[in-house]
Symmetry: D2
């Protein structure tokens, strides 16, 4: 079957064989797979070995291992990119977020940008009432849900979102739904479709840090909640803008020097700030994410800017890289 | 293999066959099984069909279904009486306590007071560093942990425990470990071994409600946390004794009229009380319970008053019923 | 100056003298005072001494004691009916809700249904940007905020409100703002203006318990949050309707037998319910309540069905008693 | 009256006049005042104007303003260094920790290292059952309580304390009381009295970062809670040592470059860490701190290494600077 592989910026389709299933695995025919920002960074240099990728998949169960009792062949499912094992000490102590034996297709070598994939049954969640290209958004939406939960949003919160990419826009939708008092967005104005979408979802102000340093913006209120989906160095800005008692939740990683953050710990101390890292691996809220998509809390169709068949996956990747035109790009094998 | 069955107060051993394992099941040789207060109420009337029972088991894995990858034959384990499935919407949304597809031997017909039992693999937790008669205490200890967690104990809390049975005494140990300021116990003085054990664990006062109504006791401090392991009608006492802002957590059920509680809602309102029900099904903290036993936070050996072989299970049940002499009674097949 | 007094159902205006201020007191010219359900129950029998009443007041500072530094003569204010002292051990330990030395006009003998009142300065909160008849709603709104906070509402919550009186309707507004998934209301259909207002605020279903017992209603979803502003006996219904893991927050008191609640503690236990009493004395969220009124989270004008001058206070009381016609009734001295 | 003033490292006593009291103020005869680490940094350079200092005071009320009703002349009190006003929007919304109108002697110009001080009455807390030199420890102990609360310590927590100064040792006492599983301390071995005291309070390991970099220490368990009372640059170590899901709470400020912290945000992200700043201004737990001292949760006498009369305040300051010999130094005017 055909699967996408990446090395440097080159993306190619290769024919690869499928192996037999382990007792707890299933084989899934992929119907849709989203492209995530981290996909663009897989194997960044030419020198490395090429790898399969894609981790936001929805499809149909084609076959199951002998030990799988919770799923049927023919069932439409979404696939979590990482799932708590349910068995380790953390899972059994109600701390699945710290699971030490995460289950994922990641270790199987079969990823989502392919005709088929092999994955542990526990990573699959039945979903027969959303089209696959929308259902597969549950993966990044789970990330957004975790980011928002960490920030403890209330109706009186004045929220600033740094980074209106797909996950940021999903977080914006949720924060609006939760009745936050004000929601501001900081991003690059060149990303016109994202700016337009943010404005449609409802923002009280959009700021481009290239036009005005964030610390000089007059928000006309205290910013007490900040959601960061931008690279780590922006955390210094977040610390500067946050008011006393502020909470900053963040996702996202940086490469090289951008992996480090440096900020004024005195100000952090005197303002009683909190910095909380969100990392939604294992996935924690997939059924809730599906419910949000089903009920329009997050409008899946509105977030999808482009859809490509699998044989145009290279083109899909180029589009996903172009933040002036793309929001969410979906590949449909 | 031999298994205990109960009807009315009669307990007998019967030889029963073992069936084949489903893919996700294991067969366990039982080495120890505690007797719980609810066991005494199984099939209370003579007219009913006799039933197997016993749900606090530890033993060794003898055989496993084809889909079981997380356990090995020969491994010592404790068995949870109910385990979150890890797959339903509640489990996947981090609310396993509301699991809608609980896994348990309960549905297999093979219980813990027997030579062997069949149970879903996910209910078994490896434990090779505690003797089985101590390890099996993890089941009621998980109940005690949940009861205590709900009550939000702090170093400045003045705690009252209603019901110094095995679970109450475990809760007492934990509350002491958490540094609670005062811990009082209300129970029947006739339960001499339980009173003695409570005093050894450290109590600031022991009261017998048959000597002095709880509402007339002078605690010389505000009681702001109450743990109830006594029948529901005692909740009215708890509401009366609790100070403003108090939290009452409770477990336990009543039969007939004792299933109902009635209290002064005005007082409840003006005192801003909270009543929180603990029901540790599914089990949530088994690895933590094992850690508490291992490290002496709860002294397992001290709680065990009697140990019987399986063929004296009827005698064990009689002893468990005699709260003047017994604390925890263990059966060792 | 003129002040309203009540005995039985008789309400009269009397001329009473004002005394000198203590150092920490202020004298306030009352501009608006809401009528609360509890006002209708003041001195219910003819035999008692007549009393002044009214505790939802807004007005203007006329005079201040020598020790008052935080307010100026001429300043428009709202008056909290009870205020944490800021000095007792509870207040200084961040538990003002348990304040043991609450400050209030209640002890001064001068209440809100009067031309003027005397009250501790700490009970007054400056508010110059809302008309007094709206500003005085901050008192009951603080009650509604506390009720809602206790219930831990989330976007996925299915909420049931028992009792669409003024506080219930305020709670409904907040819960809608917080994005609750479903909100149902149980009340009497004869209260037509309240039903109409609830429907305007947005309800997913209105049920009259006189038509269909609550336990027989098909909500088509799990009710996991219940807000009760109805008399205590309705708590049994709430316990019956609540799904596993449900939280019931309640305010309100009953007279005579209606002070008691009785429910099935077994079901409460197996469903892991929580019952949490809200009693907003001392007041805790007055500035937030004013903000909600200012920004339309709660629409003050929409909740006010009638306004009367002080010399028609008896008529105002009769109207407030008629739940088929009145929502919130305001008296403007 | 005599008061201590500081410029550079020079500390001198000067005779200064007392002014009249404002209506909400009291005059206190100081009986004991602790020296805090930040006192050593007041006016660090010779060029600045000399300033009064000392903010950990206990004494007796000598006189009160006309508006003071909550205190009597002759009453022994401790003085909070900063107190929530009880009147601003944050205070009235239950967020006193964000009070925007903090009350303190700080603005009066009269500090604790003096024969007398003038302070707002609301900053004084009656305390007649502890000797003044112990009672004045309530100020730093309130800091320690806030630091520990932020860290959410549980019986299963493995805690690392960075900085066994007086506040760190107080935190250690509390954490032990709360039953933490393991408590490790990182400090300088040259501070022999502090090391000895830490060991007496109970540590599972003491490490000197000058001997072994913290990141190379084998703790033989996951460090999931870190309390930092050391300068901000140590936060990078804390982030490196913390296990997945770890919480780092910190106090303390740095001068110059030491005000900045830089750490690997990728690791912070992947480990889902939380960094929470504690800054106990305003003071929040003074009555609880007094209770802890009264009941021996924190042993005040054991923490006090030296006591000096006021005319030897310069000597007291030198001693406080010598961490090899001093823990807490108290001056008794």
């Amino acid at each position: 079957m055909k699967a996408a592989f990446k090395r440097g910026t080159a993306v190619t389709l290769k024919d690869i064989p499928l192996r037999d299933l382990a007792p707890d695995e299933i084989r899934v025919k992929v119907q849709a797979c989203g492209i995530c920002g981290t996909d663009l960074h897989v194997n960044p240099t030419e020198g490395e070995q090429e790898s399969p990728f894609g981790h936001e998949a929805a499809g149909v169960v084609m076959e199951k291992g002998c030990g799988v009792t919770c799923l049927e062949v023919g069932q439409p499912v979404v696939i979590e990119s990482a799932t708590p094992c349910g068995f380790c000490s953390y899972c059994k102590n109600t701390q699945q977020e710290l699971c030490t034996d995460i289950k994922s297709f990641w270790y199987s070598g079969y990823f989502g940008l392919a005709e088929e994939m092999i994955t542990p049954a526990i990573t699959a969640i039945p979903c027969d009432d959303l089209p696959p290209h929308v259902a597969c958004l549950s993966e990044p939406l789970g990330v957004a849900i975790d980011l928002v939960r960490l920030a403890d949003i209330r109706p009186e919160s004045n929220v600033l979102l740094l980074g209106p990419g797909p996950i940021g826009l999903m977080a914006l939708s949720i924060v609006r739904r939760m009745g936050a008092r004000r929601v501001f967005v900081s991003g690059h104005r060149v990303s016109t479709v994202r700016v337009a979408l943010a404005e449609r979802l409802g923002v009280d102000g959009f700021f481009d840090p290239d036009e005005t340093p964030l610390a000089e913006v007059d928000f006309d209120c205290n910013i007490d909640r900040i959601l960061v989906t931008a690279p780590p160095p922006t955390l210094a800005d977040a610390c500067e803008v946050a008011c006393k008692g502020g909470i900053i939740s963040f996702i996202g990683i940086g490469w090289g020097d951008a992996a480090f953050t440096r900020f004024d710990a005195n100000a952090f101390h005197f303002k009683k700030l909190q910095l909380r890292a969100s990392f939604a691996s294992p996935a924690l809220y997939t059924p809730l994410a599906l419910q949000y998509l089903r009920e329009g809390v997050v409008e899946g169709e509105a977030l999808i800017s482009h859809r490509f068949p699998l044989d145009r996956v290279a083109e899909a990747m180029d589009m996903a890289r172009d933040s002036s035109r793309a929001v969410k790009v979906i590949v449909e094998p």
